[in-house]
Symmetry: C2
């Protein structure tokens, strides 16, 4: 059997990480990459500042897809369904399965019902599968909560909190979180919608609720700036003392005024600079109560990279259509040949 | 659509708990129960010491199955594949899907390869699904570990430890663990095989290894008595001070002499009597390291009851055959109508 041919679309921080991970894995090959910043065809190795790999990088997606004819593409260019739909249209037309880390695509049915239906049709008509995943949404604040609930007879309230380091992410995510702004600019950004905070609550909450059969009347969100007392620096940004280093974004699903699902996600760059302990916390209140702690948190960058790469065989195995992490068998790390996991 | 008809086979501690849980759930009905201790037909409510439910309990399995024609049976009578195979033969012949908490059935392929093949054939020929589950094996020391590994790029060593309270279980499990014996009788029991300890390592380790593509040369197990300094009492047993209150059972899968998967499972009745903290601990050492703690542990009794009941729709949805928890989509609590989860 031939190796699984993967094209990486988007070579930002996440995309580069996925390529590097794929290069260490058996039974799967990086057949090419698509990156809009590349004006002419270059070698992926050269692009990454390493030895020549003989793997093409184009900005012309259609040309590259026709040239390498991949089985699957990992799409890492944007957080929103609207920001990836044209790419998904092209990929499905070319009969390519799609994994995307666009956060909204982890469960796009509530925020983009018409687009979800359209993407589902594109996938079904072309016999391929489209799925969104990543560390969150896709894993920590949804799939893992859903899985933990197996051990309980009754769920009254789910409370989960992910305190993480935002540093591994690139500028797309930094801008969504308002990193580097003044408090005033942050608050203005929240008002005008330019600061979104975490893209994921409107995905994770409906995904949990649908899986467990919980209902709610409304979801209330709050977004507050996290201010830094010290200078914090990452590969991509510098935040001066007194400025915004992240966003404390929370969401609660209420039923008859009572919380059913509460998710908190204070994200900031370099929490270590002020000795802030990171971690993932899941509490299921019900019969019985369960309390899970992962400390430090599943790292945001590596977790997203790992999730996107590790689900490759599951996505290829799945029935055609737009699916979510709850439609496929339990997902996991893969240490052997990826082809061993194909049906 | 009619309610999902379930027959409970075995009304020990676990079976009673499953019936009680099922009676609180929507879209699923307890159609009958099979219990060998019942000499004539009785009412399930009467058997449980509650109001009459109008649900028959027989010792004659075939008669009961013909009478109620269930969609699915939960089999809770024995820990081993050999101890449930004849029941599974009858159930599959009657076109009944099977969930069993027989620990060995969570992944019987290694310890009972021929029997696994036979059960798989029975299931396929009759168009039904057979799956083993429970809190462990089935959830904490396998499915949950597998799911957590999604967030890592590379796995070097998995270390997990489940420190739990054995009290909710019935005599079958107590005898397997040597509860109530002297140290000498325990050690003799380990030698002659009458004290097995935890039935699950030879299931969980191969299940994890298969999922993640890890290999090992051998599995080494140790079984040591846990002695109590105080009197410990449960509904089913009394352990005097100085006697065995549980078994510290460990297993390690070695590759080239190095541990790949290490599972520790010290189980005892009433750990609270000596202020022993219970919990589930999962460490994945690799890239990156991840460390998860659930404290107190997912309760053994309730966890097994919940797991067996919560997977009902997934098992009905699955393709015919002998399957495991890794063959079905992520499993979870169900708070709405069970029929909403049927495909």
């Amino acid at each position: 059997m031939k190796k699984i041919k993967v094209v990486q679309w988007g070579l930002g921080n996440m995309g580069r990480g996925m390529v590097e991970m794929l290069l260490t894995k058996e039974g799967v090959q990086v057949a090419g990459a698509i990156e809009k910043r590349v004006t002419e065809k270059v070698d992926l190795g050269t692009f990454l500042g390493k030895e020549v790999l003989g793997i093409p990088v184009h900005s012309d997606a259609e040309r590259l897809l026709d040239e390498v004819k991949p089985d699957l593409c990992i799409l890492a260019i944007n957080s929103f369904a609207k920001g990836v739909v044209e790419e998904i249209r092209l990929l499905t037309k070319k009969k390519v399965n799609v994994i995307t880390i666009a956060e909204e695509m982890a469960y796009p049915y509530v925020t983009e019902p018409a687009l979800s239906e359209e993407i589902h049709k594109m996938a079904v008509e072309n016999g391929v599968t489209v799925m969104g995943t990543g560390v969150n949404p896709g894993f920590v604040l949804d799939t893992l909560i859903i899985q933990l609930s197996l051990g309980v007879r009754r769920v009254d309230h789910i409370f989960a909190r992910r305190v993480n380091d935002l540093s591994p992410f690139g500028l797309t995510v930094m801008e969504e979180q308002g990193v580097g702004l003044s408090r005033e600019a942050f608050e203005q950004g929240v008002k005008d919608g330019s600061i979104y905070g975490h893209v994921g609550f409107m995905q994770s909450i409906p995904m949990i609720a649908k899986s467990l059969g919980l209902t709610y009347d409304e979801i209330r969100q709050t977004r507050a700036p996290i201010m830094t007392a010290v200078r914090r620096e990452t590969k991509d940004v510098v935040v001066k003392a007194g400025m915004v280093c992240g966003c404390n974004h929370t969401a609660v699903a209420l039923k008859d005024g009572k919380p059913v699902i509460t998710l908190e996600h204070p994200q900031q760059v370099r929490p270590d600079m002020e000795d802030i302990e990171t971690g993932d916390y899941i509490e299921i209140h019900g019969d019985p109560d369960l309390s899970m702690v992962i400390r430090p948190e599943v790292p945001g960058g590596i977790g997203t990279i790992a999730a996107a790469v590790n689900v490759i065989p599951h996505v290829i195995n799945a029935d055609p259509g737009l699916i979510t992490m709850t439609d496929i068998p339990v997902t996991h790390a893969i240490m052997d040949d990826f082809r061993n996991h194909l049906k």
